[in-house]
């Protein structure tokens, strides 16, 4: 290697050597980043493989009928996923019924009505709801909402909705306060900030020109929301709803505290019941053998469910091209 000196007599390294060194360092940097990105992909595969291996005894014992088996009994060593899966689907569905209109209402308020200087603090306050740990929702739900459900809300529901034909049966049962409906209420508060944040963001993507033109034609605020903003942001809104649904499906601690742990099918939504995540959290600690494997199989089902919901959400949001 030849080293030359500059006019002050200092040694100047040979430029070819420098560029060789730089190329070597760049190669290393590239490989580091590539390795990290590959690791992320490998981790997802690892999750699927480990869950599938651990869940295998369940599927080889019960076959696919595990999915619609209605019995979950440790003493008889028979396990079926249906009560937990239905519990998860129903509680998430009811939570969406409550959270979506509220979220859209808040998003309308934040984008259309709220004075500009209140917008940020109010938005932050709603987003803080998303920061509250799920265990907090669990204990506040158990010690505040459950007594309220038992003393007031459920008796009123049983006396009113419970008397209706058809859906009345869903509200007729001894009601200790904990149950699927209580879990749905807690879930709806938890997912509210997620749906609100994305809905507000997609509402803000509506071009000002479009909005102002509509107001200029004499439309009321509601008509602008109903006929301009919602049609314009339809796909993004559905995407945000799906993301909220994904949250609701996988939520564990908040639900575990208030849903009870009854692992059979219930005819009413106010009875103690279970969900996939609550069942795992409740029984995983002292399960072994086939029961442990079945709990892991439940985890695999949950993962697949939330994957499908996310994929759908991505596809819908992607089509609006705003994310």
């Amino acid at each position: 290697m030849t080293a030359s000196t500059d006019f002050a007599g200092q040694v100047v390294p040979d430029s070819a050597a420098i560029s060789r060194r730089f190329r070597r360092q760049d190669r290393l940097f590239f490989l580091l980043t590539l390795g990290s990105a590959t690791l992320v992909v490998a981790l997802l595969l690892a999750i699927l493989v480990v869950l599938a291996i651990e869940a295998w005894p369940t599927f080889s014992t019960f076959g696919l009928s595990f999915l619609w088996g209605t019995t979950w009994s440790a003493p008889r060593d028979i396990y079926g996923a249906l009560p937990a899966v239905l519990g998860t689907l129903i509680s998430s569905f009811i939570a969406m019924l409550i959270a979506v209109p509220l979220s859209v209402g808040i998003a309308v308020f934040l984008t259309e009505l709220c004075p500009a200087r209140l917008r940020r603090p109010l938005g932050t306050a709603i987003e803080l709801l998303a920061g509250v740990p799920s265990i907090i929702y669990g204990i506040v739900g158990l010690f505040v909402l459950v007594p309220l459900m038992q003393s007031t809300i459920l008796p009123v529901l049983m006396a009113t909705v419970g008397q209706l034909p058809l859906i009345g049966r869903l509200f007729q049962a001894p009601a200790p306060g904990i149950g699927l409906l209580t879990a749905s209420f807690v879930l709806s508060v938890m997912i509210l900030p997620f749906i609100t944040a994305i809905t507000r963001d997609v509402f803000n993507t509506v071009p000002v020109m479009l909005r102002e033109s509509a107001y200029g034609m004499g439309m009321t605020t509601w008509e602008v929301v109903r006929h301009i903003i919602i049609p314009y942001t339809r796909l993004g809104m559905v995407g945000s709803i799906m993301l909220g649904l994904g949250r609701a499906l996988g939520e564990t601690m908040a639900v575990t505290f208030v849903v009870g742990s009854v692992t059979r099918l219930q005819t009413s939504i106010i009875s103690p019941s279970t969900t996939i995540s609550a069942q795992i959290a409740n029984s995983f600690g002292d399960a072994d053998g086939l029961q442990l494997s079945s709990l892991i199989a439940l985890g695999l089902i949950l993962f697949v469910l939330s994957f499908c919901v996310l994929a759908l959400a991505k596809w819908l949001i992607g089509r609006t091209d705003s994310f």
């Binding site: 590239f30 980043t33 690892a46 907090i136 509210l192 609100t196 993301l243 996988g250 995983f284």
Partner: protein, 284 residues
């Protein structure tokens, strides 16, 4: 006659508008009400438990004095370890996806997979680490807990890095390249520096998210009443301690659970506000 018809239509439209806007205001009030109820409950039930003991003593047996210091220590150690693992990998992975492979089909697939991890139910992550780490190691350990939380934080850091790097103007990359700087030098000395408030916000939000997680720690880090510093043994964390103590029939331990709930919520909300004010400073 015609004006009367028109005004009745107008009246109907305005009435409907007023109803709908009242509903929008009502739902916002309800959202704030939920936050207020949660915070008020935590303060009301938890404030009695906040004393010097909570910060100096470990979790007691029923009927004796004690605090939560071992659980707080556990939360700090497990969260810190998780972030030490997740932050460099997340930043490097985000760098690859935006700087080296942006737009390619493989990178798009990797971004999608990262989003799948981002939305994976945390209990499933716990079950995975149980099968992959706890079973081979024959028991709960702080390391397993840290790995579970790292797996939750990693996609958050990765995603934020991607989003923030995309905001860095290309002119900066071209200018550093024109100066003859190698890629790594351009990244560390220019690009990361111009994106760092955003990345830091993401890291803080990831800390806020994982330090409140309970479900992935139940079967990984486990629970212990004692002051454990060994990383290969079970270690309590605040959320798991709250989960255990809240189920205790005794009023003392239940009060301790509420104290812990108040502490962790205040800490996490403060982190959230800090992260958001950082983000706000960037955008202004």
């Amino acid at each position: 006659m015609e004006t009367a018809v028109r005004s009745s239509i107008m009246n109907r439209r305005y009435r409907r508008n007023r109803i709908m806007m009242a509903l929008a205001i009502g739902s916002s009030a309800l959202g704030l009400f939920f936050l207020a109820v949660i915070l008020a409950t935590l303060v009301y039930r938890g404030i009695d438990a906040i004393n010097l003991d909570v910060f100096t003593m470990s979790i007691p047996a029923q009927g004796s004095r004690g605090g939560l210091v071992n659980a707080m220590y556990g939360t700090v150690v497990i969260t810190g370890l998780a972030m030490l693992i997740a932050t460099p990998i997340g930043i490097l992975a985000g760098t690859y996806l935006v700087e080296f492979a942006n737009g390619s089909t493989l990178a798009e697939a990797a971004k999608f997979i990262n989003d799948v991890l981002l939305s994976a139910p945390s209990i499933v992550i716990g079950v995975f680490i149980y099968g992959a780490v706890v079973v081979p190691m024959h028991g709960n350990s702080a390391i397993a807990g840290a790995l579970a939380l790292a797996l939750i934080a990693l996609p958050v850091v990765n995603r934020t890095t991607q989003d923030m790097l995309k905001l860095v103007p290309n002119a900066l990359r071209e200018a550093t390249a024109a100066l003859g700087a190698p890629r790594w030098m351009s990244m560390t000395m220019v690009i990361y520096r111009s994106a760092w408030t955003g990345i830091l916000t993401g890291i803080l939000l990831a800390v806020a998210r994982i330090s409140g997680e309970t479900a992935p720690l139940l079967f990984t880090a486990g629970y212990s009443k004692f002051w454990n510093t060994g990383l290969t043994g079970p270690m309590a964390s605040l959320p798991v301690a709250i989960n255990t103590l809240a189920a205790d029939p005794g009023p003392d331990l239940k009060r301790l659970a509420w104290g812990g709930a108040l502490i962790i919520t205040v800490a996490i909300l403060a982190l959230n506000i800090l992260a958001r004010s950082l983000a706000g400073r960037r955008s202004s």
